[in-house]
């Protein structure tokens, strides 16, 4: 080793001392691991900062309204400056529930078609098409919703629904095209790729011995499929909750088709409504005073809380099932 320049001798000596210490050597491996760990740990900082900033931003609203923000039913930025988010929370939950009612049976069918019914070779291409559905940006669903889906539903579907089930209050009232049901349908289309992909993976991980046992008993394909579904049932529940998480946070598409009308409860499925994400997208840029901005950030905080609960629950359930079925498959 050549002599270091004078200026660096202090550091050189220091380094020599460190290197001389047994076990204390700073090896490249340790440095690399530390750097990687630091980058990986940034996730904690990001999430922590997110919660901190949202609480800080909504502090004014939290202090002013307290729990009334969640149970309040009035949203009046213009005159009384009172904000209550209950109708928004209901709007989000009900449209998401409609999305599940429509989307889950279809997802279940897709997952079964891909994992049980279709030949594997063919299935790959088709599942790619379903995955493409997940890649389409939300805002394009919204544009398609406004110009294609809404006119179609208004002219060809909703009138028939109303003439057949009009005696039920949920199918009565004027038909605008956009509204609660349309929002639910768009959300259903958007969660189907996610839910069906998770279900397909779950069904594929069910050990073949289950299917063979059913076939040996003389079961039909459908009866075998039912066993597969019930074998993975807790994972299926997880997949559904995962879809719920997607639906709850969806913003642009729902903003464009739901009609954006603030009311506690819509008069029918055809009526307009509002969701938490839609009000943020629509009003944040127009919020002119601090309390208004704070209330909108507060809506974001509530949305964060709801989606965190839903997602953590779903992950835990899906993980447990996958581990369970894979563990058995290995035995």
């Amino acid at each position: 080793m050549q002599n270091p320049p004078r200026a660096f001798s202090f550091f050189h000596n220091l380094k020599a001392k460190i290197v001389a210490l047994p076990r204390m050597r700073l090896k490249g491996d340790d440095v690399f691991k530390l750097v990687c760990a630091l980058f990986a740990s940034s996730i904690f900082m990001i999430l922590g900062l997110m919660v901190y900033e949202l609480v800080r931003g909504s502090w004014l609203s939290i202090r002013t309204f307290g729990l009334n923000f969640i149970v309040g039913t009035k949203w009046d930025p213009a005159i009384s400056r009172v904000f209550g988010a209950l109708p928004l929370i209901l709007g989000t939950l009900v449209t998401s529930a409609i999305a599940l009612v429509i989307g889950v049976p279809i997802s279940l069918g897709i997952a079964l078609a891909l994992s049980e019914y279709m030949p594997k070779k063919f299935g790959f291409g088709v599942s790619f098409l379903v995955e493409l559905l997940a890649a389409v940006p939300s805002v394009i669903y919204g544009l398609w919703g406004i110009f294609v889906l809404i006119p179609f539903l208004r002219n060809h579907v909703y009138p028939h629904l109303q003439s057949a089930f009009g005696f039920l209050p949920i199918f009565s009232g004027p038909i605008y095209g956009g509204g609660v049901l349309t929002g639910g349908i768009v959300l259903a289309i958007m969660i189907i790729p996610t839910v069906s992909a998770v279900m397909r993976d779950l069904f594929s991980s069910v050990p073949n011995s289950q299917r063979e046992a059913m076939i040996a008993l003389g079961a039909t394909k459908w009866e075998t499929s039912k066993t597969v579904v019930s074998y993975a049932r807790s994972g299926v529940v997880g997949a559904i909750i995962l879809g719920l998480g997607r639906a709850v946070g969806e913003t642009m598409a729902i903003t464009m088709v739901i009609g954006n009308k603030f009311q506690v409860w819509p008069s029918s499925l055809f009526d307009a409504w509002y969701t938490m994400s839609a009000i943020i997208a629509n009003e944040l840029l127009e919020a002119t005073y601090d309390l208004y901005v704070s209330a909108l950030i507060h809506v974001g905080l509530v949305l964060l809380f709801i989606s965190l609960v839903i997602n953590i629950l779903a992950r835990l359930i899906v993980w447990r099932t996958l581990r369970l079925t894979r563990g058995i498959a290995r035995e």
């Binding site: 690399f32 990687c36 897709i110 189907i192 039909t220 459908w222 913003t251 943020i280």
Partner: protein
């Protein structure tokens, strides 16, 4: 015998229903592709790609400023998001035995499930409220959306590299970190690039976080601390506007966006086909 027939009928019926579900799900995909092509046909011209947003009532105009703005915003987001995601992915795959990595993996999943509008609100509260609507705030939000995707795909790509490759390198006396950076990353290069591309496709289509951090901007890019135009946001603002000219531009922007996103997805599929 009767019950047997009933079971067979039920079986056939369910088979039809299962394929019907598949068909129903694919209808929107083809409808979107068809409508986007059909309705943007009239607006696509040279002007569309080289002229900025028209003022209200002006004939023609294009989305050149939105292409520029999207490139800058997404580029800046990638500069922040890709290194963090890449290093986190390396950590999760190469040091998966540590306790920290289980927690990191879990919280990446959590972050992946947080709605993009909430991430937008976060960037709004942290950056926009202090420096105003800006490219920086939007890029920050998009970077956060990107990180869990890059991390996940990097981790999965590295895990596909056989352990024997690592052992061979280490047996040659190469330190572990060098093995990771050259041999392991080298053999997973394709899959990692795919993951990065997919995450870029995803954030190019994001409009909710862009809307709340940057707002709509009709002019050219004029600095990182000011807003820039954005393709996805164009689709929203033009699509919900009452002007025919703008609606046509919305469909044009949607076509470009769809081509980028679907093109990257198909490319990713081709790149990763038949790996290990």
């Amino acid at each position: 015998m009767d019950r047997y027939k009933l079971r067979v009928i039920k079986d056939r019926l369910m088979k039809v229903l299962v394929y019907l579900a598949l068909f129903l799900a694919l209808v929107p995909l083809f409808s979107i592709l068809f409508e986007v092509f059909r309705r943007s046909f009239s607006v696509i011209s040279l002007d569309f790609f080289i002229r900025p947003t028209p003022t209200v009532g002006e004939v023609g105009g294009g989305i050149a400023n939105a292409i520029q703005g999207t490139l800058i915003t997404v580029g800046l987001a990638s500069l922040i998001g890709v290194p963090i995601g890449l290093m986190s992915g390396i950590f999760l795959s190469e040091y998966s035995e540590s306790k920290l990595s289980a927690a990191v993996r879990f919280f990446h999943d959590v972050l992946n499930g947080i709605p993009s509008i909430v991430i937008g609100i976060f960037a709004y509260a942290m950056i926009t409220l202090s420096i105003g609507f800006s490219v920086i705030a939007a890029a920050f939000a998009l970077a956060i959306i990107m990180i869990p995707i890059v991390t996940r795909t990097t981790e999965e790509a590295l895990k596909l590299v056989p352990i024997s490759v690592r052992e061979a390198a280490i047996a040659l006396g190469i330190p572990r970190w060098k093995t990771t950076l050259t041999v392991v990353l080298g053999s997973a290069k394709k899959a990692i690039v795919t993951g990065v591309l997919l995450s870029i496709a995803r954030i190019s289509g994001e409009s909710a976080p862009v809307l709340v951090t940057m707002g709509f901007w009709r002019w050219w890019f004029s600095g990182l601390n000011r807003p820039a135009a954005n393709l996805a946001l164009n689709v929203f603002v033009f699509g919900t506007s009452p002007f025919e000219n703008w609606v046509a531009l919305a469909w044009g922007s949607a076509l470009l966006l769809l081509m980028i996103v679907l093109g990257i997805s198909v490319l990713a599929r081709i790149l990763t086909r038949g790996r290990y």
